[in-house]
Symmetry: C2
Subunit: 200 residues, 2 copies
């Protein structure tokens, strides 16, 4: 029945269109339902293909997750752009960029998807850890050129994860309905200190 649906939607099994349709369905389901509640079967149904095809292309659920998770921005472009410029306002630039990303539907969906996956089980946490360590924290630490740069990058990460959880996932008030400007003003000095000021 799933294969029939696939044909009905005009995607013969085995084309790159099918592969991409599976990836799109997986990204959406991981973001909407969380890692735990996304099954290979549900991904196959949403993509309109047979479940065997999902396994053929991507292997296990964990392998599928690794293959399709994407950051909502390209750190290779964003980190150098944020770090260059006046250091006295770096925390504010980072806060503005993060809040703007979290306020967009697509950016929020990807970031909450990553965090919810990390909260679900140790193996997913490991995959998220490697992704953010290699793609965000390491480049950020290297570009800072200050003492304790790796710790600083992860402290920034801790505030970003916590803001995402408190404001967008748990939706605790009044933080959940505070304006983006209020949130930026509140966390910018925190990020500035974590990034560049003395930590102890």
């Amino acid at each position: 029945m799933q294969a029939v649906t696939g044909r009905r939607r005009g995607r013969p099994p085995g084309t790159s269109g099918t592969r991409e349709a599976i990836a799109e369905a997986a990204r959406r389901l991981f973001a909407d339902r969380g890692y735990d509640r996304t099954s290979l079967r549900a991904v196959a149904e949403a993509a309109g293909v047979d479940q065997a095809l999902v396994s053929h292309y991507y292997g296990s659920k964990q392998q599928l997750f690794v293959a399709v998770i994407e950051l909502p921005f390209e750190p290779e472009l964003v980190v150098p752009r944020l770090v260059s410029g006046d250091r006295a306002t770096l925390g504010r630039r980072v806060a503005e960029f993060l809040v703007a990303t979290l306020e967009s539907v697509e950016g929020r969906s990807r970031i909450t998807g990553l965090i919810r996956a990390a909260a679900s089980e140790p193996e997913a946490a490991r995959m998220v850890r490697e992704l953010v360590s290699n793609r965000i924290f390491k480049p950020l630490a290297e570009s800072l050129a200050v003492d304790d740069a790796p710790l600083r990058a992860t402290l920034v990460g801790s505030q970003v994860i916590g803001l995402t959880m408190a404001r967008y996932v748990v939706q605790v008030e009044p933080l959940a309905s505070a304006s983006p400007d209020t949130v930026v003003a509140a966390i910018a000095p925190t990020l500035q200190r974590y990034l560049l000021e003395p930590l102890s």
Copy 2:
């Protein structure tokens, strides 16, 4: 078979011992496996009772979760104790208390259990939100007696959630292996600012 196990362990169904055994098993499973992966059947097995008895005492899984989740400290005692005393060092006192709680096995298990449940589904997030709002954020905000106290309390919450996720759940380095003293020194000024200093 489960009922037999219950009898073997000397707990006749229907006693308060059984009820408490179910609660203990549920607390442990919610903390270890997360909300999503804890089933009423698994709780019944771990408690050595029939699943019908779990439903009889606690109803649905959501109702069971609400009944058994507990904060790792009594906010009614802790908040007034922390807030009284020198305001200039309030952030440090709160940071020291939180890190000490998170460094204990029991405290960490309960806090990560709450956060992982909140990340799993909107209904669990709602229950966690009500718990922390009513028991922690509101009393904290009332005792602060400053402008924007409710927002300040939730900003503190955001850093605490993020520290828990980054250091103890995702375990991102070097934050995960930093000493408790290093972590306290890093976040104390953040909490001090969120609690008492100008936010914008």
